[in-house]
């Protein structure tokens, strides 16, 4: 197994863990944490392909990861603000009990 394959496997497992958590946990904050883990897995893929791929001097992977980290930070701030607003409205942060928009 080459180092690139090792990195890709670690990132695939991280993505699977994040996906399982985001789908199965009932708490809204943990769903957001699962999404963060999936984003981190994608960033790890970018860095691995940049390190072991062709033309690393172009810095494409590094740049993409820097912008991705910034967007993930913005997403986390807005998501947690939404969770706080939902908690204030419904007095719960359990995703199964927030269903007023359901038809």
């Amino acid at each position: 197994m080459t180092p690139l394959q090792g990195c890709l496997l670690v990132s695939a497992l991280l993505f699977a863990i994040g996906f399982a958590g985001a789908v199965t946990r009932r708490h809204a904050i943990l769903a957001l944490v699962g999404i963060e883990l999936m984003l981190n897995a994608a960033n790890l893929n970018f860095i691995a392909f940049w390190r072991y791929g062709a033309h690393p001097e172009a810095l494409t992977g590094v740049m993409f990861v820097i912008f991705s980290i910034a967007i993930a930070a913005a997403e986390a701030a807005v998501g947690l603000a939404l969770i706080i607003a939902i908690y204030r409205h419904y007095k719960t942060s359990n995703l199964d009990e927030v269903k007023e928009l359901k038809g």
């Binding site: 670690v10 863990i17 009932r26 883990l37 790890l44 860095i47 072991y52």
Partner: protein
């Protein structure tokens, strides 16, 4: 693969599983910090020093603190008594297992991956700064605008709503509280306004 990489990968994955599996949310946040730090160490292993330290600053420093604040503000810091998994959790885990199997199969059997290991690339902070100021200056400006907009939006969304402003959100929450003790229609109309659909 170096032994350091394997150890860091195991610690990261174990902490990620703990962050998704523990019952107490504060413990989940602490495991999440370990996961983020492990990913930063993986970046350092892959010769991406700037990204590794950016990861530590942004994720371990800011996002983890934000998550802890959200956990404590929503008063979900103590261990819950009821089930923490959604009713259809088995399907979720099955789907994620299928996803991992497919990804792992593709990674292990792909012929498109480069076989040789190139020497460590040059990614100094000077190079990254040069690229950010020349080739990537437009995305940099856009990301600055996006961060400003997200910050203002987060503050506005999380603002405490004024109960006298007459917005139906505050009244709705009140009627929800009264609904528990009284029949639903009494609770809906007692505030003088017709708020039920």
């Amino acid at each position: 693969m170096s032994p350091a990489f394997i150890i860091i990968a195991f610690v990261t994955l174990f902490a990620a599983a703990a962050a998704m599996g523990l019952r107490n949310l504060v413990h989940c946040a602490l495991a999440l910090v370990v996961t983020f730090a492990g990913i930063a160490a993986l970046y350092l292993q892959l010769d991406a020093q700037f990204v590794g330290f950016a990861q530590i600053l942004v994720y371990v420093g800011a996002v983890a603190i934000l998550i802890v604040f959200a956990i404590l503000l929503t008063r979900s810091g103590d261990t819950p008594n009821q089930a923490v998994l959604a009713p259809g959790w088995f399907y979720g885990i099955a789907v994620s297992a299928v996803v991992f199997t497919m990804l792992g199969w593709a990674v292990l059997n792909s012929s498109a991956l480069p076989k040789q290991i190139p020497s460590a690339p040059e990614a100094t902070v000077k190079n990254i700064g040069d690229a950010l100021m020349t080739k990537y200056v437009l995305p940099l400006e856009v990301i600055g605008l996006l961060l400003t907009a997200a910050m203002i939006g987060a503050v506005i969304i999380a603002l405490k709503e004024n109960p006298k402003s007459g917005s139906s959100r505050g009244n709705d929450a009140q009627s929800k509280k009264t609904e528990k003790s009284e029949p639903p229609h009494v609770g809906c109309y007692e505030s003088g306004k017709e708020i039920c659909p």
